[in-house]
């Protein structure tokens, strides 16, 4: 069992990070920490994605004419992770802008207080 974990160390790390991020996204009361949890969750998914493409002894996929033909790693997962990182930055910026407006409007970013304040105003 242990050498299995050591063999898939990247995937196990990614799952632990996903669990930490997912727990924080759901359980944290502070909105900013929820966004932090989301970022950790996304970083975990891209770590898992990138580690799937790795081949032992592989070289970075720059297909230059180096004479010999080296073993390249798989370019697809790193391309997907590249797109994913930029998408998650865009969403983080949007969430942080929302948090700023909420703070400006209510003066607090604790979810429980916000729900009470918003409920009072709603109807």
């Amino acid at each position: 069992m242990l050498e299995d974990i050591l063999q898939n160390r990247y995937a196990v790390t990614a799952v632990i990070l996903f669990g930490v991020g997912f727990a924080n996204l759901m359980l944290q009361q502070n909105l900013l920490r929820k966004v932090l949890g989301f970022n950790i969750m996304d970083a975990a998914i891209f770590l898992l994605l990138a580690s799937l493409g790795y081949i032992d002894g592989g070289v970075a996929p720059i297909v230059g004419d180096r004479g010999f033909d080296p073993l390249y790693i798989n370019p697809i997962p790193s391309g997907l992770a590249l797109t994913g990182i930029v998408v998650s930055v865009a969403i983080t910026a949007f969430a942080l802008a929302l948090i700023q407006r909420i703070y400006r409007r209510y003066g607090t970013i604790e979810l429980r207080e916000l729900l009470e304040l918003a409920k009072k105003e709603d109807d």
């Binding site: 998408v87 969403i91 949007f94 929302l98 948090i99 407006r101 909420i102």
Partner: protein, 504 residues
């Protein structure tokens, strides 16, 4: 050189995306509004042409994005089912914009109107892309586009509760797309492909050979759960009432009528094309979806009965109707999926009609939203009253309306499966519960209140609200017509659906 009509799906997606970019740079909100409505109408016309082309010749075609054939580059897959859904979504988007037009220009600040229409355009593009995509990762990217656009629609009205509702909606959606992405990663690592036809072969191979069985099951479960969270399946619907209840009329109509449907359509396409219905039943996911669907049908209606804020009541009824759709998927037969597709169409026409009329009714009664203050509001705007009545009766499932036909199809889809008694009981119970909150609402708007209350209400209605709204009348007429067509002439539509599901 392929016939020109096969370029239309790709052209409509690009048209919507480029229109989104152009409206951000346009100066005034009015021109942005007309660009957006024009693009939606043009997209609807294009998809009707594609529908006529694919249905009459009974074919489906794969449109490769660029020179590289299927497993190497992106691709779109177009069949009668996709064309019908895309044209219905575009038409309903155009009518929602027309219906909610007056309130939009009252509520939004002048500088920010054009950005609102950028969001609507991008939402339209992501809806079309989710319907037509043949590649799972393209589906994920357009899910992210629709997440940001939908959250911007929720918070467009800029009031405090909307901001809180928008951020709760954003966090729940991000949980959903996080689960979908990790499911997609596992599926890619187990099968090696991202394009749906290649994925389908690899998944079928895995099913026969039986290796990597656990990662395949977890990947299917995560993808279904991720899309379920995003389309407000029962246990994950907590964000929906605040988000849809508080938003502006046009936004809540678009959000509940169309945005939820994008994710459901992607789930249907995934189930039909990649994981076959039998695999879903084999892995046990079908029963889980059926259980959540049944619970959603009942719980959504129970919450709606307790609600007296008219928009939140309609939002809870959306949770119930999404429960119907997931019940259809959970039945595990192609008839169930056809019934779900039909109910997607019925709900996409009915719910925007209800939201637009509710918005109009509350506008004519001084922007109050609780049923007590809306008493007798139907007399102040008869068109809105009629529209609300048609929508409510269709939701309850009275014959001659769309809702009845979809319940009828759900019922006979449930017969051959083992869960017949349970499903029929749930449909009957849910119909009664629907009546328990729609009938009092109907009575509230049609029964004229005592004179002094009515004077109080009339006191705080502004003059221009009471003026007749031509755009709203046209939009509600079109949607009423759609509900009647779905209720009476439903045979051509169900034939297209059957051909579409067979050809998917």
């Amino acid at each position: 050189m392929r016939p020109f009509v096969e370029n239309l799906p790709f052209l409509s997606i690009f048209l919507a995306l480029l229109a989104g970019i152009v409206t951000a740079a346009v100066r005034s909100g009015r021109t942005a509004y007309w660009i957006t409505t024009g693009v939606c109408a043009a997209a609807a016309a294009m998809h009707l042409w594609v529908l006529e082309y694919t249905y009459l010749e009974g074919l489906r075609f794969t449109y490769t994005m660029g020179r590289f054939l299927a497993p190497y580059g992106n691709a779109l897959q177009c069949g009668p089912l996709q064309a019908l859904l895309a044209s219905a979504f575009s038409l309903v988007m155009a009518t929602c914009l027309a219906g909610g037009r007056r309130e939009l220009f009252q509520e939004l600040k002048p500088g920010k109107q054009r950005l609102y229409f950028t969001m609507v355009n991008m939402l339209e593009a992501s809806l079309l892309a989710l319907t037509y995509t043949n590649d799972v990762f393209t589906g994920y990217v357009f899910i992210e586009i629709s997440t940001i656009a939908a959250c911007s629609l929720v918070m467009a009205k800029d009031s405090g509760p909307n901001l809180v509702a928008a951020i709760r909606y954003l966090f729940m959606s991000l949980m959903g797309s996080g689960m979908f992405l990790i499911g997609l990663t596992m599926l890619n690592s187990v099968t090696g492909h991202l394009l749906m036809p290649a994925l389908a072969e690899a998944v079928a191979e895995l099913r026969l050979s039986g290796d990597y069985r656990i990662p395949l099951t977890v990947a299917v479960g995560l993808m279904v759960a991720g899309l379920g969270v995003k389309s407000a399946m029962f246990p994950f619907h907590l964000w929906l009432p605040d988000a849809h209840g508080g938003a502006a009329t046009a936004s809540s109509a678009i959000l509940s009528g169309l945005v939820l449907k994008g994710y459901i359509v992607l789930l249907l396409v995934l189930i039909l094309r990649v994981f076959s219905v039998e695999l879903l039943a084999e892995l046990g996911a079908a029963n889980v979806i059926l259980a959540f669907g049944l619970l959603g049908m009942l719980a959504g209606s129970v919450f709606a009965i307790r609600e007296n804020h008219i928009k939140r009541m309609l939002a809870y009824s959306t949770v119930a109707q999404v429960g119907y759709i997931f019940m259809g998927i959970g039945l595990g037969t192609t008839e169930g999926l056809i019934a779900s597709c039909f109910h997607v169409l019925v709900h996409a026409c009915c719910k925007p009609l209800l939201f637009l009329c509710a918005g109009r009714l509350s506008a004519v009664s001084g922007h109050h939203k609780s049923l007590r203050n809306l008493r007798g509001s139907a007399y102040r705007d008869v068109g809105a009253g009629l529209g609300f009545t048609v929508g409510a009766l269709s939701m309850i499932g009275i014959p001659l309306f769309g809702g009845f036909v979809s319940k009828f199809y759900f019922a006979n889809a449930a017969l051959p499966t083992g869960m017949t008694a349970l499903t029929l009981l749930a449909i009957a119970l849910s119909t009664v519960l629907n009546a328990l909150y729609y009938v009092p609402a109907l009575l509230a708007i049609w029964v004229r209140p005592p004179a002094e209350d009515e004077l109080a209400i009339l006191g705080d209605t502004h003059a221009e609200d009471l003026a007749p709204d031509r755009f709203f009348a046209a939009a509600s007429l079109l949607l009423i017509l759609a509900v009647f067509i779905l209720g009476i002439f439903y045979h051509p539509i169900t034939d297209v659906l059957e051909a579409g599901v067979r050809l998917i």
